[in-house]
Point group: C2
Chain length 281, copies 2
C-alpha cells in the first residue's frame, strides 16, 4: 500500500497497471475512514485488480460557514485501514496539487443539485461533481464506489457520468450502521454523548417508516408525519428536511410505490446528519 | 476508414487500438469539412497512430435562433477528405445517441464563456464544453486538435481540460485561409458573391493591425479603430466586436505587449464570421 501525493505519480502508476492489464476501482472519500468506507473499499478490492482510495478533503464542496477547517483527519489510521483491506493506493494530495489558483470550470447537474441538501449547501454538489470528475480523469477507474448514505450525491454522480459518458461504472454500496442503528459518518465524532442518543431517532424513524410501507401505507405525507413525530420527540434535534422522492429525479412523490427514497437531514446539536432508505428497482 | 454511428462501437474499436498500444488523436468538428479541418486532421495523423474525426453537429451549442437546421452537412465529401488524409474513423452519431432525453449536466468555464462570442451566443460554450467532454470520455484520446480560428473555444477547452484534469493534450492549429485571405469556415457557404468580397475586410483589417503592432503601435484603442475603419468601409458588414485581449483570461488589454489576441466577430449580411490573430507566448 502506497500513499501518493501528486497527480503525476499516480498517473505513472496507473499507466503501469494498465500495461499489465489490471482493472481499477476508485473509492472517493474525504478520509477519516470508518467501517462505511471500509465496506466501499472491500467491494472495490473484491471486484478490481487494483484499488485507489482518495482521502482528499475537497475544499470546493464546503460552504463558507461549513466545517472545512475542523473536518477530522487521521492519515495514519486511514492508511492502516486501507492496507488491512487490501487497497493499493491512498491518494492524499494537497489542495494546491488538485486546484490551480485560477480554477474556472464548474459542473452542475441541474434539477438534482439544488434540491434537498442543495438548499442548505448551495455550492456542495458542484464541488462534489468537480472533484469526482477530476479524480475520474486522474485515476481513469473502471469502477467507482459510492455509499448510499449520501444518497443525493450517488444520484447526482450517476447522472453526471451518464450525461457526460465518463467511462466508469458507478456502484452503490449499502449504508453501514453501528449496532445502535446510527449510520456511520465521519461527522459522528462531533456528537456529545447525549446528542448521540438523540441521533438514534433518525434510524428509528426510518425503521418505523419502512414498517409502515411494508404494512401497506403508501401516503407519503402520513409516513413523513410519523418520521417527524419520532425525531421531534427527542432533544437536540432540528429537522432540515424529511422527504420521500423518486430515486432518479429526486422529485417529491405523493404515493409510495415500488421505487422511492426516504431521505432525512437533521441537525443534532450543531451537527448536521443525514440518513435514508430506498427501493431503487 | 470507417464511419461509426454508435458509442458502443467506437468504444470497442478504441479498446482494440489501446491493446495494440496505439496513440489516438481526436479532431472534433461539426462536419462539412474544409481545408481548415484538413489541417487539423493532417496534424493528428502525423502525430498519432490513429485519428478519429467527429462530424457530429451538436445541437446544444446552437441557440434557439441560430442555424442548427440549415447548418451544412455532406458526409460523403467528409468521408472522402478524412480517408484521403489518412484518418481512421469518422464518428457521426445521431443526436439521440449522444444525448439521453433527460440530460441535466452542464459544464461552464466561468469568466471565459460569457465574454466575446458568449454575449451573442449565451448557451454556445456550455454546449461546446458538454459535447467535447463527452467526446473525450468516449474516444479517450491522447491528443485533441482545435483550430485557432475559434480562438475563444480553444482557450475555453484548454482551461476546462486543465481544471478538470482530462488526460488529453490540447493542440492549437493555425488558421487556414483562402488565397484571398478569407479564413475558411463552414459558414462561408452562406455568403453571396458580394458579401464574400466584403468578408475580405476581416483579414485585411487584421493584416493592418499586425503591421501596426510590428511597427511599434501598442495602444489597443488605436489599433481597434484602424480595424473598425477598414471593416466599416465595405458594404454588408455589421461589427459584433473588435477586441484585443489577454490570450488566457480573454480580458481586454489596453497596451499590446508580447502576449495578446486580436479578435473579430462581424456579421456580413446575415452570416456571422469570426477571425483573429494572436501571439500566445
Amino acid at each position: 500500500m502506497r500513499i501518493v501525493k501528486t497527480i503525476s505519480e499516480i498517473r505513472e502508476i496507473i499507466k503501469e497497471w494498465r500495461k499489465e492489464g489490471n482493472t481499477i476501482g476508485l473509492v472517493p472519500t474525504m478520509g477519516y475512514l470508518h467501517a462505511g468506507h471500509g465496506s466501499l473499499i472491500e467491494t472495490s478490492v473484491k471486484n478490481n485488480n487494483k484499488t485507489v482510495v482518495s482521502v482528499f478533503v475537497n475544499p470546493t464542496q464546503f460552504g463558507p460557514n461549513e466545517d472545512l477547517e475542523k473536518y477530522p483527519r487521521d492519515i495514519k489510521r486511514d492508511s492502516e485501514l486501507v492496507s488491512s483491506l487490501g487497497g493499493d493506493i491512498i491518494f492524499n494530495p494537497e489542495p494546491d496539487e488538485m486546484y490551480n489558483k485560477n480554477n474556472k470550470t464548474i459542473i452542475k447537474v441541474e434539477g438534482l443539485s439544488e434540491k434537498l441538501c442543495g438548499i442548505t449547501r448551495p455550492v456542495h454538489f458542484a464541488g462534489v461533481c468537480q472533484v469526482v470528475s477530476k479524480l475520474f480523469n486522474i485515476v481513469t477507474p473502471d469502477n467507482s464506489y459510492f455509499g448510499l448514505k449520501d444518497f443525493q450525491q450517488y444520484v447526482i454522480i450517476k447522472k453526471m457520468v451518464e450525461d457526460l459518458n465518463f467511462p466508469v461504472k458507478i456502484n452503490p454500496v449499502e449504508i453501514v450502521r453501528e449496532e445502535s442503528g446510527l449510520a456511520l459518518s465521519s461527522r459522528n465524532v462531533y456528537l456529545t454523548d447525549d446528542e448521540r442518543k438523540s441521533a438514534l431517532s433518525l434510524n428509528q424513524s426510518l425503521k418505523k417508516a419502512s414498517l409502515l410501507i411494508k404494512n401497506g401505507e403508501n401516503n407519503a405525507d402520513v409516513i413523513i408525519n410519523e418520521i417527524r413525530k419520532i425525531i421531534t420527540s427527542v432533544p437536540y434535534t432540528i429537522i432540515d428536511y424529511i422527504k420521500i422522492v423518486d430515486p432518479e429525479t429526486l422529485e417529491d412523490i405523493k404515493t409510495v410505490n415500488n421505487k422511492y427514497a426516504v431521505l432525512l437531514a437533521v441537525y443534532v446539536g450543531n451537527t448536521r446528519l443525514i440518513d435514508n432508505f430506498s427501493e431503487l428497482s
